[in-house]
Amino acid sequence: MLEIRGLNVFRGATHVLKDVSFDVRTGEIAALIGANGAGKSTTLQTLSGLLRPRSGIAVMREGEAVVDLTRAAPEKIVRAGLVHCPEGRQIFQSLTVAENLAMGAYARIDRASITASIDEVHELFPILKERALFAGGTLSGGEQMMLAIARALLAAPKLLLLDEPSLGLAPKFVEMIFEVIVALKARGVTLLLVEQNAAMALEIADRAYVMENGRIALAGTGQELIENDRVRRAYLGVVE
């Protein structure tokens, strides 16, 4: 579904992504783990069109459609089915919960199917229905994360990029978010998950990549990386 080859991205003069290559296959959960500043968020921002690479290939294939992510504008990429749920939730604080959800569906036209999707996320996160007319900024951190994910789902993603969905959340919310991620996979959504919580991410990931200093340092299935000594020491906190 996603094919990335030799991607080089700069922020100002800083060379952030160095020759990054990886794949995400249709229907799977791929995890990207690594320390702060390794380039995980930059990778997602490049894929959603917010940043332009200096060189390299990033292509999304969806059925017959092929989208060149290095050239398409963000609004085109969203319409092609690649939806990026950014780090730090970034919900619209001054808009109501309902308006936030409407913004999620901004790129869609068919009203009947939007209404159906809103009912679906209300079922997934009942609190959002209760709070529909409250400003997004009045929600708790966990509720805001649910709103951020719900908003992304309303864009009808075929490939969902999730940036640190568990960051700063209470354990019960973290568990809930991971349950939702697994449920999304069951519904046929392909996911690329960026996480600091490496243990939980690797557990649900079909494929995983470790990023260090802007490079892909390790790749394998989730299980392989859980058993890898280097990953255990550096990211899973195992002392041996």
């Binding site: 917010l50 319409r79 939806v83 808009l95 308006e99 913004m103 999620g104």
Partner: protein, 296 residues
Amino acid sequence: MSQYVFQQLVNGLALGSLYALVAIGFSMIYGIVRLINFAHGDLVMIGAFSALAMVALGVPWPLTLLFVVVVGAVAGMTIETVVFRTMRGAPQATGFIATLAVSIAIQNSALMILTGQPRNFLFPAAMRQRIPIGTVSASLTDIVIIGLTIVLIAVLFLIVYRTRLGTAMRATAENLTAARLMGVAVNRTILAAFAIGSALAAVAGLLWGGKFGQIDPLLGFVPGLKAFVACVIGGVGSIGGAMLGGYILGLAEVLFVGLLPPVFAGYRDTFVFSLLILILLIKPSGLFVRHVEDRA
């Protein structure tokens, strides 16, 4: 209420309406692109002169009003596309200086084309009659200004709070990156904000000409500056705040001149800008904004 005090109140509300129309656009543009647009006042002048041209051609007033709306919107979108868009992402000071440059360019082009000679701008005689309200009376011009402003502001609020475009504008103003990730083509949203804000300023220009009877190519400077003050009073970036700030400023200015001894009349602008300094000292986020956050 004595006729005198009533007359001052109506006068202040009419002036406040004009400030509010200009301030709302100023605030919308700041809200969405974080640009203090000092060329905004010149749209008032462009509106006034395009109205004058239509009246000279014998075009009926309702059509003239429509024409002014279109000219204002097109002028605003042109400035945004040609000048401000090319500077997006530059430091805030660069954008600010660019708006001053645009303002100077517009004013001097107008001076060359139209000369600095003030021109008479007259509403039809029927507009200048006085309408009795109980024991007092008000000029029809002021009533029309106040009424039309209320209608325009109501339409604006419907657009901003009840349409897809308005929701996208508010979302973009709060978090441009997140709005892009939702599929908002932000350049189009920004263009819409310039079109709407500039059209309101141009209508203010038509009404300004009608109220004061004379227009000249530099007439936009004062309303532009006062709109800025109105925005600071109400909280820069807030549409409701800009509207209230405009009315407060208009009323305060007229009552200052009207109710104090005539010897103070010359200090009208001193009063306005002292008010600005006072608010910046006491409540820099504006009277109607609870807190200010920088955009993520």
